[in-house]
């Protein structure tokens, strides 16, 4: 069975369509502006007490670059040691294989209820949809994930999946979906979630989690969280299934040091997350606590293809902190769902084409003003604007009209006289459009039809009054004389 497409609504035009819908949603925009600013402020505050921030970033970048350059070696080492720890390691080439693998493990464990802690990779592969199709019941236990599961939505932020929902929304959702009395009080809402989820933890035969870091040296893996739900998911059920991407491996346990400083500060502005759990194998003594079996599914899904060039490889260094989303002025306006991918924002625009293909995701790299704020905050110094530019260059053929436009423009702009002449014609025509009455209207229509980008530009922006002479004309007409100004 093919898993349902986890990419909600993605095609060559989806960003345009979805962003328009997002811009019309005032409640969404209010929530986004508030929460992204809050996250960014907390990060700034956390950094103010981390004078060695830049050193840590350099160090983390170096560890990632080194590991990704020899990923096969470190993965092999990790797998060998994890297996000797008793962890059952599986490798999945793509989403379909990963879903099938997890489905099979759950069926073997005779599971009917599965509790899940937050995992972007399971969102990437569409695991919940696959499990539902198999007649299993996946229950998200991270508060944000649970909210969007109730709402039938996909996450709109890498670390804050329900960022697009206000507490009013959530109160209404709980009331309709769970039949609880209506409340918009955060504490009461959290208590409701806790009550509903607690019974599910006890029922579940299997717990599914993601992974933050795989440690090659020890064959163990680390999960970070704040709510304690991941600990419950991975300790109460008899079987623990962890799903993650192959790029998450780091060489040594000691390397965790720098990443544990960077990740929580970048993501939520915390010095450390509430819980940090290192898994080193299933229980060996029947009387001790913890799962009897640990399965780890390592997913490729387009990642190994990104290893080929140093520039593309950079994207695999991402530690999924979400900082680039919080500072992205595009994300701040439209939110995650506009990207049509479970990975939104600048990093999503870079990795989604690798996962979903250029054909459907090729327009995402254009959903950015290339302002560079993301590069400034990235804890592992991924040069996101450069990666977006690279993808724009590779995806060119798709947009014929634009290619023709730039061919014509470059032909003109490399001929100074012609360029200057056409510039003059343009400003004169624009001056006419700025005159009132019939002439203005007619020339506006005419120039809009001849130069469509100008029509789009002018639809909601007013050009300054057009000058009568260009700079080069003014230069020739006397500005070139060396007389000092009065």
């Amino acid at each position: 069975m093919k898993p349902l497409d986890p990419i909600v609504d993605l095609d060559a035009r989806s960003f345009g369509r979805l962003s328009k819908a997002a811009l019309a949603n005032d409640s969404l925009r209010g929530a986004l502006d508030h929460v992204t600013t809050e996250f960014a402020d907390r990060r700034e505050k956390a950094l103010s007490s981390a004078p060695d921030w830049e050193v840590w970033r350099e160090q983390a970048r170096a560890v990632k670059a080194h590991t990704l350059a020899s990923l096969d070696t470190y993965l092999a080492q990790f797998i060998e040691r994890a297996e000797s720890n008793g962890i059952q390691v599986h490798i999945a080439r793509d989403r379909e294989e990963a879903c099938k693998l997890v489905g099979k493990i759950l069926q073997q464990a005779q599971a009917s209820t599965v509790v899940k802690s937050k995992s972007m990779v399971t969102e990437e592969i569409g695991l919940n949809e696959h499990l539902l199709a198999l007649g299993l019941e996946p229950v998200e236990t991270d508060l944000g994930e649970w909210i969007i599961q109730l709402a039938g939505e996909k996450p709109s932020h890498i670390i804050a999946p329900a960022i697009h929902r206000t507490r009013q929304d959530i109160g209404d959702l709980f009331h309709t979906e769970l039949g609880v009395p209506e409340t918009h009080d955060v504490e009461e809402l959290t208590a409701i979630a806790r009550r509903f989820l607690r019974t599910r933890f006890a029922e579940a035969e299997v717990g599914v989690s993601g992974v933050n870091f795989l440690v090659a040296e020890t064959g163990s893996f680390l999960v970070l969280e704040n709510e304690g739900n991941a600990r419950l998911c991975t300790s109460l059920p008899k079987v623990h299934v962890a799903v993650t991407g192959i790029e998450k491996v780091i060489p040594r346990l000691g390397d965790l040091d720098v990443f544990l400083r960077l990740l929580p500060r970048s993501g939520t502005g915390q010095a450390m997350t509430t819980y940090q759990t290192l898994f080193s194998g299933p229980k060996t003594d029947p009387d001790s606590e913890g799962p009897e079996a640990i399965h780890l599914v390592l997913l490729d899904n387009g990642r190994s293809a990104q290893l080929s060039t140093p520039l593309e490889r950079e994207a695999l260094a991402c530690i999924r902190c979400g900082a680039c989303l919080n500072v992205c002025p595009v994300y701040k306006q439209v939110g995650g769902h506009a990207y049509g991918s479970v990975y939104p924002g600048p990093i999503g625009a870079v990795i989604t084409p690798a996962l979903a293909g250029q054909e459907s995701a090729g327009n995402l790299p254009h959903a950015s003003s290339l302002c560079g704020a993301c590069r400034d905050v990235c804890p592992v110094k991924i040069n996101l604007p450069e990666l977006l530019l690279d993808l724009r260059e590779k995806g060119d053929e798709a947009d014929r009209g634009e290619t023709w436009g730039f061919t014509g423009w470059s032909w003109v702009a490399s001929r100074p006289r012609l360029n200057s002449l056409l510039g003059q014609i343009l400003t004169r025509t624009l001056r006419l459009t700025q005159s009132s009455g019939f002439v203005g209207k007619c020339t506006s229509k005419l120039i809009g039809a001849l130069v469509p980008p100008l029509r789009t530009w002018q639809a909601e922006r007013v050009l300054p009054p057009m000058p009568t002479r260009s700079f080069r004309q003014l230069w020739k007409a006397g500005l070139d004389s060396e007389e000092p100004p009065a």
Partner: protein
């Protein structure tokens, strides 16, 4: 700058002369190629940028650019022309290129140009000026010397205005929403003008301010510094 806002060019020339410079302008130059380059059309960008190499690629004088993103593009040219004579010319252009405020403050060590501009203004950190050229304090120092001018730091002064080259027309509604977010904070700051040294940001912010009928002006740094 040449066709739509020549007054910024004139102000820049006058300002540089006031600071004691001899100003040359080669009319063979057109565009740095950035619009094509940022949209992923490298070949077309190179074709246009070669004109820059022809007009500015030799000599030893500094190249002063009154627009941050154009200056950043000129500094990037060596990566577009990877070999031979073009690469050498591109390197020459890149090392000599300075954004206006950078040139005045860092090279000429001038901050007071005798300007007077009564009222409150806020500086807009254009993305390329701030993040590619690392220019942050220079324009603020220049503005702080202007008589009767009061500088306010608006919230989000270093947030993108939404221009982004072809982004402004490809995703015009998002681009406009970004500009409006900035303008809300600029208006809250109670200023008479938002000042920048990037011409495209000024077209974008000015375009929205005019559309809204706002009293806030979008001005170029050279225009403010050249007012007496």
């Amino acid at each position: 700058m040449d066709t739509i806002t020549p007054q910024i060019g004139v102000a820049t020339v006058e300002l540089l002369r006031r600071a004691g410079c001899t100003v040359n302008f080669d009319p063979r130059q057109t565009c740095c190629g950035q619009p094509a380059f940022n949209s992923g059309h490298r070949a077309e960008a190179c074709q246009v940028a070669r004109g820059v190499l022809d007009s500015l690629g030799s000599g030893s004088d500094p190249i002063v650019v009154p627009s941050g993103s154009c200056a950043a593009m000129l500094q990037r040219l060596p990566s577009l022309f990877e070999e031979g004579e073009d690469h050498e010319r591109a390197r020459s252009v890149a090392t000599r290129t300075r954004e206006l405020s950078q040139f005045l403050v860092q090279d000429l060590e001038v901050t007071d140009l005798g300007a007077r501009w009564p009222g409150k203004v806020t500086w807009h950190d254009a993305c390329h000026t701030l993040r590619e050229l690392d220019v942050h304090s220079e324009p603020r120092q220049l503005l702080s010397e202007v008589r009767d001018l009061e500088q306010i730091e608006a919230i989000g002064c270093d947030t993108c205005c939404g221009f982004g080259g072809t982004f402004a027309v490809k995703h015009a509604d998002v681009s406009v929403a970004m500009a409006d977010w900035k303008i809300r904070h600029i208006e809250k700051a109670g200023v008479k003008a938002v000042v920048s040294s990037d011409i495209s940001c000024l077209l974008q912010l000015g375009g929205r301010l005019r559309e809204m009928g706002s009293e806030v002006q979008a001005l170029h740094l050279a225009e403010v510094l050249n007012t007496r």
